[in-house]
């Protein structure tokens, strides 16, 4: 199977230059019904090659791979190679790339490996991915890693829940707050009243109650046990090092719905790659990894002791600890989870603009003004936030007019805060008070594409109804939507407007997503971009892959609900 791609001649030339013969290795994967044991609960689930330890596929840039996938389930399955540039028929999305893999069948994927870096793979059928159908891909670059290390580990995170994916989806549709066990209670009201007065506390409750929204609505699904490489905190995944060695951690977030804040207390992390593409090294203390993203970080533990890899969910409802240690019998220390954040009115900007105001009593706000300045911000709960990170004075009220545009990111703000709505309650801070990675810190190591003006702009409004747990794009669910049509060879600018109160990790298959951070040719090249609530974010895509592709929110239950589009690339080589 030969497929032309503009990168291919380049890859071939590089291959010749380095005199590395193209391999054509065969890999076998079985998709199995397995028993999953997290140490806190046991459940039936799905695993690749019969294991809850994620399979790691190790490829070499330039090789032609043949991957035989045997479906041992009693239902159809599929494997999508997340982030890989390949012919669309090999992309593994049932109904778009191919017809899926029937029970008992073996499907053979064949495609050339034209890139290097850390990626992952997962089922794109039903709720098999949250049920355990995911693994890692590590592709060695032709010329060796830009930053060589002595140790190299995949650190693949997931949010393993005792309920099956389909049950979770059903429960959320029945009651959107089904899994929210971090709701504000009478006890919180008493505490708030004590802290800032009863009137302010009641006013705050009244404001959220008027909207029928919850400031605690950060994680749809709680009650999971996070795992690192299939192991929970008690099972304690451990990576071995010798003091002084450089250790590359390939962080992959394969969660169904959970963003993780990752740190290695006591060590700086040097971020060298994001979503498989090398970035200019940036030293941070902590980073937030959205669902489906990958980050490669390098740490250099110098002491002969156990260090912890901590993954704390962004909503602070769960945490996992893995260990880096000089010997396998050592266990990294456990840390206390930080206080739960609360959403603010800034995160609700989109809900405001998209909402029907007829039934709203905004506690004295003047509706005729239709301006955020009419809201009584004094009732807002700032207790959980770093006020220094909130530049309220710089908040552009004019940009938040109801029905108008949401603030464009990167916004001016503290480090790590640029890609959130100004005043957002979701802005993370490092546990040690140090540097927290933001998209604004990412710059491509080498530009992948020539910088050029986009041929056109396409607006993608991320929409939904939280109470009904309905998710859509431009207010239309996938089943009722028309495909997005792109022309081969054009450069499209996507304008993402997040009108919901949740962050959405948007993933375009088959083509790269270049996040506009204002760096031109050096803007970071990714496959997944997290759009924070109440923000407008721009990305650009060089339309260089013919065929039809999936484009969706990577939160499993948002995708299943319809926050999904088919993208058809017209023209180009067939």
């Amino acid at each position: 199977m030969k497929h032309t791609n503009i990168l291919r001649p380049l890859a071939v030339m590089l291959g010749l230059a380095l005199s590395i013969p193209a391999q054509a290795d065969t890999y076998d994967i079985t998709v199995d019904r397995i028993r999953i044991d997290t140490g806190t609960f046991k459940k039936k689930g799905i695993g690749y090659n019969g294991s809850q330890t994620p399979t790691i596929l190790k490829f070499q840039e330039g090789e032609d791979v043949v991957i035989r996938v045997k479906n041992n389930l009693r239902e159809s399955t599929s494997i999508h190679w997340h982030g890989l540039i390949l012919p669309f028929q090999q992309d593994g999305v049932p109904g778009i790339s191919f017809n899926g893999i029937k029970p008992g069948e073996t499907f053979t994927y064949r495609f050339p490996i034209e890139q290097a870096g850390t990626y992952w793979f997962h089922s794109h059928s039903g709720f098999q991915e949250p049920d355990g159908a995911y693994g890692a891909i590590v592709i060695a670059p032709k010329g060796g890693e830009a930053v060589p290390t002595q140790r190299d580990y995949v650190v693949q995170l997931t949010d393993k829940h005792p309920h099956s994916g389909s049950r979770i989806f059903r429960n959320l549709k029945g009651s959107a707050d089904y899994y929210n066990r971090a709701q504000r209670t009478a006890q919180d009201l008493i505490e708030d009243a004590g802290a800032k007065g009863l009137k302010a506390a009641l006013q705050d409750r009244k404001m959220w109650g008027a909207m029928r929204m919850m400031p605690t609505d950060i994680e749809d699904v709680q009650g999971f046990t996070p795992l690192i490489n299939g192991e929970s905190t008690v099972q304690n995944w451990t990576g071995i090092f010798k003091p002084g060695e450089k250790v590359r951690l390939r962080l992959i977030n394969s969660s169904a719905t959970t963003y993780f804040d990752v740190r290695v207390p006591g060590l700086k992390m040097t971020v060298v790659q994001a979503d498989g593409n090398d970035v200019k090294p940036v030293v941070v203390d902590e980073l937030r990894i959205a669902v489906a993203e990958t980050y490669d970080v390098i740490v250099q533990p110098r002491e002969a002791k156990a260090y912890s890899i901590i993954g704390e969910s962004a909503g602070r409802t769960a945490m996992v600890r893995g260990t880096l240690a000089p010997s396998p019998d050592l266990v990294g220390p456990f840390y206390k989870m930080r206080p739960k954040p609360l959403l603010t009115m800034a995160d609700m900007g989109g809900m405001m603009s998209g909402m029907d105001h007829s039934g709203m009593d905004m506690s004295g706000s003047d509706h005729s003004e239709k301006d955020m300045s009419g809201f009584d911000m004094s009732g807002m709960d700032h207790s959980g936030h770093d006020m220094s990170a909130m530049d309220m004075s710089g908040m552009d009220h004019s940009g938040m007019d109801m029905g108008g545009d949401l603030p464009v990111v990167p916004a001016k703000g503290a480090a790590g805060a640029s890609f959130y709505a100004p005043g957002s309650g979701l802005i993370p801070t490092a546990a040690n008070g140090g540097k927290f990675l933001g998209y604004e810190d990412l710059a491509a190591r080498k530009p992948l594409y020539r910088d050029r003006p986009a041929t056109r702009e396409i607006e993608i409004r991320l929409t939904g109804n939280m109470e009904r747990y309905i998710w859509s794009i431009d207010g239309v669910k996938y089943e009722d939507s028309d495909p997005i049509r792109l022309q081969y060879g054009e450069r499209v600018r996507f304008k993402f407007v997040n009108e919901t109160m949740m962050a959405h990790p948007m993933h375009l298959h088959g083509m790269w997503t270049i996040i506009d951070t204002g760096k031109g040719a050096y803007d970071p090249v990714k496959h997944t971009v997290s759009v924070a609530p109440g923000t407008t974010l721009y990305t650009e895509t060089e339309v260089d892959a013919a065929g039809q592709w999936a484009f969706h929110c990577h939160l499993s239950y948002h995708m299943a609900g319809g926050m999904f589009r088919k993208v058809i690339v017209e023209g180009g080589p067939s």
């Binding site: 039903g126 709701q183 009244k206 039934g359 009593d361 009904r468 299943a560 999904f564």
Partner: protein, 248 residues
């Protein structure tokens, strides 16, 4: 006639209610393997009350059950509600089947059929329509009109007060106002009946099993109260309740 006839009657009434049940499955029988990005059909079954009531005069078993299936656009909802006196009659027995559809962000409109078939009084059947949803400040409300020769209007308000994330205090108000006289049922136009409840529940196993205790107060007013008094019946009743709710 005696016991045999009575048993049969009870069975008939139960069967009538159950007959609505299988209807739920029909429109959604073809729920095959979900296509990517397309909402699968979902369903749920839950009790809002399943309790033993202890009053001055008698003890009774009361239930309120809801089963639904559908998608974001349309849901078929089956409701069953009743009270059985311990060792006696079904004092209340209501079944409804509804088609429910979103009309605003937070409210559904519905149309349906309702059957009221308690013991000792004539059966009544209604066409019904109304709205149900979430009002500002988290009040769950429902208002409906029941249309027949004996039409009435009904409304319900419920609030879930989170004492903690698992210990939940739920006050509720139910009101129904007959629009026409129904002397065979001791009911007069405008003679409202009111139910007040206060239940303290604890989510024991997820949201699946939630035992609770509480109080329930029911009272009739106006012409209805007069009719009940004339028949030697009570016009108000206060009961202590103990129960457990299930969600599937």
């Amino acid at each position: 006639m005696g016991a045999y006839f009575k048993e049969n009657k009870i069975m008939n009434k139960l069967l009538l209610g159950m007959a609505f049940g299988p209807l739920l499955a029909l429109p959604f029988a073809s729920a095959a393997v979900a296509e990517v990005g397309v909402s699968p059909t979902v369903w749920g079954v839950r009790t809002d009350k399943l309790e033993y009531r202890v009053g001055d005069d008698n003890k009774s078993l009361a239930w309120e059950l809801q089963a639904w299936a559908g998608n974001d656009e349309l849901r078929l909802v089956f409701l069953s509600e009743g009270v059985k006196i311990e060792g006696g009659d079904f004092e209340e027995m209501e079944h409804q089947i509804r088609l429910q559809k979103p009309v605003t962000d937070f409210f559904d409109g519905f149309v349906g059929l309702a059957a009221s078939t308690p013991d000792g009084v004539p059966e009544r059947y209604y066409g019904t329509f109304g709205v149900t949803g979430l009002a500002p400040q988290w009040f769950e409300v429902e208002a409906a009109v029941y249309v027949s020769d004996f039409s009435y209007v009904g409304a319900e308000v419920e609030y879930e007060g989170l004492l903690t994330n698992r210990l939940i205090l739920t006050p509720s108000i139910e009101l129904s106002v007959p629009l026409v006289d129904d002397p065979e049922r001791d009911t007069a136009a405008g003679g409202a009946s009111l139910g007040l409840g206060l239940r303290l529940g604890y989510d024991l196993i997820g949201r699946n099993v939630s035992p609770y205790i509480g109080v329930n107060y029911e009272r009739v007013f106006g012409g209805t109260a007069d009719l009940r008094r004339n028949s030697g019946e009570a016009t108000e009743e206060l009961t202590g309740v103990i129960g457990v709710n299930f969600t599937f």
